[in-house]
C-alpha cells in the first residue's frame, strides 16, 4: 500500500484538520465527534439538511456543506457509517426551528445509525424526517438483499433539496422533493481497478489487468458482471441501458445527466463517457438539459465511473440552477 497518509488510524482526523485549515471561512469542523457544519448554521427559520456516511467518498459529503446545499455532514471512518452522536450533534447544530432533513444513503449501517439518531432527536423535540436514497440499479431490489444502494442521486438530491430549503420550503416539502429526486433518479457504476482502504492495506477485491466490474458499488461491492474491458462506447451502453430501462426514461424526457468519476479516473475519460452518454440518449430522444461531470462521489483511488440520470421538471430544474456555495460545488453565488 502506497498512500499519502501519516498512519491509517489518523486518516480521518488529519483530513478533517486539513479541511478546517483550508475552508474555515465556509465551515466549522469538530473533531472528537466529527461533524462539518456550515459556518452560519443554524440558519433561523430554514429547514436544516444533514447527510453523512463513511469517509473515502470525498468531496461527498463534507464538500457539499454550505449555502444552497447541506447544513452539516457527518464523516465516518473510511467506508464505515458515522455514529448516532455525530448525527445528533449535526442535527442540533443546524436546527433553525424549522426541522431537520436527514438524507441517508441506503446502506445497512447508515440506515440503522440514522434511525438511532432520529430517535434521539425526537426525544429532544427536534422534528426530523429521514429520506433514504436507493438509486443503484445494479442491485436487485428484493427481500433477499439489503435493497438498492444509494449512490449518485444523493449528490443531486443534496443540491436540489438545499435550494428548496433556502427558498423557505417546509420540512415536509423539502422531504417530498428529496423523495421525488430519488424516485426520478437511477444510477449504475463500473470499476477498472479496486481501491485500498487505509485500515485494510490491501485491495478490497481483485480485477485482472484486462478486466472490469460492471455495476460496482462505491465500496467495491460486487456488481452484476465481471468482464473484459471494452471501448468506452460499449461500456456506456451497458450502464446507460440498465439505467434508462429501469425507470424507464422515455422519448421526450428531459434529464440531468451526472457522469461521476470514482476517484482514479481522469477528467478526459469522463468527458469521453459524457460524449457517449449524450449520443446514447439523443438516439432515444432523451434530452440532457443539465449536466454534472467530475469526481463527486468517489471510492478512494478506484478507477471507473458512474452514470446517474434524474428526470427533470420545471421545479427541479429551477432548484438545480439556484445558487450554491460549497467547497466542491459552487455557482451563482459570490
Amino acid at each position: 500500500m502506497k498512500k499519502l497518509i501519516n498512519a491509517p488510524e489518523d486518516v480521518l482526523r488529519d483530513a478533517l484538520e486539513g479541511m478546517a485549515a483550508a475552508h474555515g471561512d465556509r465551515v466549522r469542523v469538530t473533531f472528537d465527534t466529527p461533524v462539518i457544519v456550515r459556518i452560519d448554521a443554524p440558519v433561523q427559520g430554514k429547514v436544516g439538511i444533514i447527510s453523512g456516511g463513511g469517509s473515502g467518498h470525498e468531496p461527498m459529503h463534507g464538500g457539499f456543506v454550505g449555502m444552497g446545499m447541506l447544513d452539516a455532514a457527518c464523516p465516518g471512518e473510511v467506508f464505515t457509517s458515522p455514529t448516532p452522536d455525530q448525527m445528533d450533534a449535526a442535527t442540533k447544530a443546524v436546527n433553525g426551528g424549522a426541522g431537520v432533513l436527514h438524507i441517508v444513503k441506503n446502506y445497512t449501517g447508515d440506515v440503522m445509525n440514522f434511525e438511532m439518531a432520529a430517535e434521539i432527536a425526537s426525544a429532544e423535540d427536534i422534528e426530523v424526517v429521514a429520506v433514504v436514497t436507493n438509486d443503484d440499479v445494479a442491485v436487485q431490489d428484493s427481500l433477499y438483499t439489503a435493497g438498492r444502494r444509494g449512490v449518485g442521486v444523493t449528490v443531486l438530491a443534496e443540491k436540489i433539496c438545499g435550494a428548496a430549503a433556502e427558498e423557505g420550503k417546509s420540512l415536509q416539502e423539502v422531504a417530498d422533493i428529496c423523495r421525488r429526486v430519488n424516485d426520478q433518479g437511477r444510477s449504475m457504476g463500473m470499476a477498472l481497478t479496486p481501491c485500498i482502504t487505509p485500515a485494510a492495506g490491501e485491495p478490497n477485491f481483485t480485477l485482472g489487468d484486462d478486466e472490469m466490474e460492471i455495476g460496482i458499488g462505491i465500496h467495491g461491492e460486487p456488481g452484476r458482471q465481471r468482464m473484459k474491458v471494452e471501448p468506452a462506447a460499449k461500456i456506456v451502453e451497458r450502464l446507460a441501458s440498465a439505467v434508462v430501462e429501469d425507470l424507464p426514461y422515455n422519448e421526450g424526457d428531459e434529464v440531468l445527466a451526472f457522469v461521476n468519476g470514482m476517484g482514479g479516473t481522469p477528467l478526459i475519460e469522463l468527458y469521453i463517457v459524457y460524449n457517449e452518454l449524450n449520443k446514447f440518449l439523443q438516439a432515444r430522444g432523451i434530452k440532457i438539459t443539465r449536466n454534472l461531470i467530475g469526481n463527486y462521489i468517489t471510492s478512494l483511488e478506484m478507477a471507473g465511473c458512474s452514470i446517474t440520470l434524474v428526470r427533470l421538471d420545471d421545479e427541479l430544474t429551477r432548484l438545480w440552477d439556484a445558487p450554491v456555495d460549497t467547497i466542491a460545488l459552487r455557482w451563482g453565488a459570490r
Partner: protein, 213 residues
Amino acid sequence: MTITNDAIEEWMKRFAAEVAENRSYLTKLDGAIGDGDHGTNMDRGMKKALEKLEAADGDDIGASLKTVGMALVSSVGGAAGPLYGTLFLQMGQSAAGKSELDLAGFTDALDAGIQGVIKRGKAEPGDKTMLDALGPALEALRSAGDDDVAGALSRAAEAAREGMESTVPMVARKGRASYLGERSAGHQDPGATSSHLLLKTVAEAVGSGGAAG
C-alpha cells in the same frame, strides 16, 4: 450461583481481549463478503467500552451493560455499532438496578438484547447474521436447568459456535454481504463470529470464578 457485576466486567475484559486478538481474522472474514472493517471497528469500540467501564463504579449490572452499549453506539459506526450497541443497551435495561443475576435473569437479559437486535436489524434466523449465533445460544440457556450457571453458559457458547459454523453455507440476505447473493455462500459470517466470541467469553468469565456463590 449468580452472576455479579464483577463477572460482567471480567466478561467485557475477556471479550475485548478476544476481539483484539481476532481483529485481523474478523476483518479478513468481513473482507470476503462485506467491507472488511468488522475487526477494526469492534476493537475500537471495545477499547472505548473498557475505558468507560473502568471509569464507572458501583455494582449495578444494568448500568455496566448500558455503559458498554453507549460506548459501542458512539464509537463503532457501521452496522456493528447499532447492533452490538442495541444488544448491550437492551440487556442493560433488562438488568437495571440488579447487582446479581441468576441464570434466568441473565437469560432474560440476553433475550431482551436479542429482541433489540432483531428490531434494529430486521434480520431473521438463516439470514447469515449475528443472530444465527445468538439465537441458538439463547435456546441453549432457556433449556438449561436453573442450578448450573457455568455449565449452562458453556453449553450456550457451544451452541453459538455451532450457529456460527452454520452460517458458512448460508446465502446472506442482510447487510453488504447480501449484494453478493449466492456468492456469499461458503464464507463464515463475521458478525456471527464475533457473537460466538461474546458467548465464549461470558462462559469463561463466569466459569473462572467471576461468579459468586
